[in-house]
Amino acid sequence: MALLQVKNLTKRFGGLTAVKQVSFDIQPGEIVGLIGPNGAGKTTLFNLISGILNPEDGEIILDGRPIKQLSPARRSLAGLGRTFQIVRPFTMTVLENVMVPLLARDPHMGKAREEGMQVLTLLRLDHLADAQPDSLTLAYRKRIEVARALATRPKLLMLDEVLAGLNPTEISENLPIIRQVHERGVTIFIIEHLMDALMAVSQRVLVMDQGVLIANGSPQEVTSNECVIKAYLGEETPTC
């Protein structure tokens, strides 16, 4: 059974349809990428799945359970994790940041501290446990964002532009972490503008343009897809 099933998801803002009848599945254990030109509706899709926005139409089913009626917090408790494009760690130490979601599941401080350190160690942030995030570089803050989401023990982790704004060195440091997280059994759904990075790490790629899902296949299939190429070049795609 698919871990995530999205069926005919639609979101309208006044006259604008940001997401139109989008349907796809994500199987457990996959890494699926989501790409598309600016304004394609990728983050809106994420927001719909994570519960920040409510759809006009469609279904969202996580691990066999419909989650459309659940609040964002409940979706998180159901196994859905996500990071935000604009990272804003909480105003507390790195370790405390990671403890927040742990405490939401088990209020014991000692246990949360221990598990928090484990997550930090996995993401190679343990030496920064007592640091204040605002004194750290963007690359580290992005990693904290992932650490926090990981602490929720998600079945599905949605990463929103986790590599944006990083220089090549930082990308080469952070990218393996995505793979590492995946190897621990977390299914990953990732939005990323950096084509090379995304193609390198994804097993399957979804392409959106103007709210519509125009392609769904392996990285090779998608990059040679005419519709996709046209979409990125800004050309009209009437037949897609």
Binding site: S50, I52, S71, P72, A73, R74, S76, L77, G81, R82, F84, R88, F90, T91, M92, T93, E96, M99, V100, P101, L103, A104, R105, P107, M109, A112, D130, A131, Q132, S135, R148, A149, A151, T152
Partner: protein, 332 residues
């Protein structure tokens, strides 16, 4: 002076305040120190929802509810003040539920505005419901000294009671801040959306924080009425005295911290009394003008309060001890 020296100085000052009535035999000092302890308790209680960024200016409502419950039960029904304490807490918790449930959906300023309205409405009700509260005439606690009646000849028992009360509230505040609830409140204040995305039920967290705060404030209210004997609506539900004053203390000391409310109350209570007696007699209202100016200056230049000034003295990458301000910079 290094941070540690300031801390030492602070502790010495605190010890001096606590010990003062023992060292100096003066009714005035005894009364003043007792009042300081009451305000330390009140300010710390007010400060609990501030961990989550919610600044209520309606706490006078809980104070009044608690106080009136204790007073009415004692004066009209002869119920012991000690039972009145429990009843007072229960009633102010109820008040907390009534105020909080509808209002929690509101962001910062609207929440504050609505909380003021809540306190005001209760004051009007207290004035109007004469059969219960004696209206503006108020209630007088009869003078029958004894621990059973929580009434005393000397000022010493209340000195101890208020000291224990203050210590207890500060302790509860400390424990809450370092509990899962505290983490969730701070996370919500920092970035509510992200906190929710991590599975935190932020509404519930704020709700519980406010319940703690209202219950404790009500408790303090009951003790207070037996301390001052006279219970009337414009005092017990006074926004300047029991909503603004704790808020002012908290801001000056450092909101969202543990020691901030303590420092703020210790400094501002005697100052406030001084302003009220000396400036107030020269010119009624002058003390409030000074309050207002102090508040504006603090908000503009030291939004984190005195605690943040002390924190600046520490070498940068400190971990969050009891002193790191939350709520000063966060929006909600």
């Amino acid at each position: 002076m290094s941070a540690n020296r300031w801390q030492l100085l602070g502790f010495i000052l605190l010890a001096a305040v606590v010990a003062a009535p023992v060292l100096v035999d003066s009714k005035f000092i005894l009364h003043m120190v007792t009042l300081i302890f009451f305000y330390v308790a009140m300010t710390s209680a007010w400060n609990i929802p501030v961990f989550g960024g919610k600044m209520s200016l309606g706490h006078a409502a809980f104070f009044g509810i608690g106080g009136y419950t204790g007073a009415i039960l004692y004066v009209k029904f002869g119920v012991s003040p000690w039972i009145g304490l429990v009843a007072g807490v229960a009633m102010s918790l109820l008040g907390g539920v009534i105020m909080t449930l509808p209002l929690l959906r509101l962001r910062g300023p609207f929440f504050t505005l609505a909380s003021i309205a809540f306190a005001e409405v209760l004051r009007m009700i207290a004035i109007d419901w004469r059969s219960l509260t004696n209206g503006s005439v108020g209630l007088n606690i009869p003078f029958k000294p004894g621990w059973a009646n929580l009434t005393f000849q000397s000022g010493l028992p209340f000195y101890f009671i208020s000291l224990i009360l203050a210590a207890a509230v500060v302790f509860v505040s400390y424990r809450l801040r370092h509990s899962a609830l505290g983490f969730h409140l701070r996370a919500s204040a920092s970035n509510d959306e992200a906190a929710q995305a991590l599975g935190v039920d932020t509404r519930r967290a704020h709700f519980i924080g406010l319940l703690w705060s209202s219950g404790l404030t009500g408790l303090i209210g009951v003790f207070y009425v037996f301390f001052i004997y006279v219970v009337e609506p414009n005092t017990m539900f006074s926004i300047p005295l029991f909503s603004l004053q704790p808020a002012l203390n908290g801001i000056i000391g450092g909101i969202g911290t543990i020691w901030g409310p303590v420092i703020g109350a210790v400094i501002m209570t005697p100052l406030g009394e001084y302003l009220r007696f000396y400036l107030g007699t020269i010119q009624q209202g002058l003390n409030f003008v000074v309050y207002g100016v102090v508040l504006i200056v603090t908000v503009n230049f030291i939004p984190g309060g005195i605690v943040s000034l002390l924190a600046r003295l520490k070498p940068s990458k400190g971990s969050n001890g009891p002193g790191s301000p939350s709520g000063a910079k966060e929006v909600r």
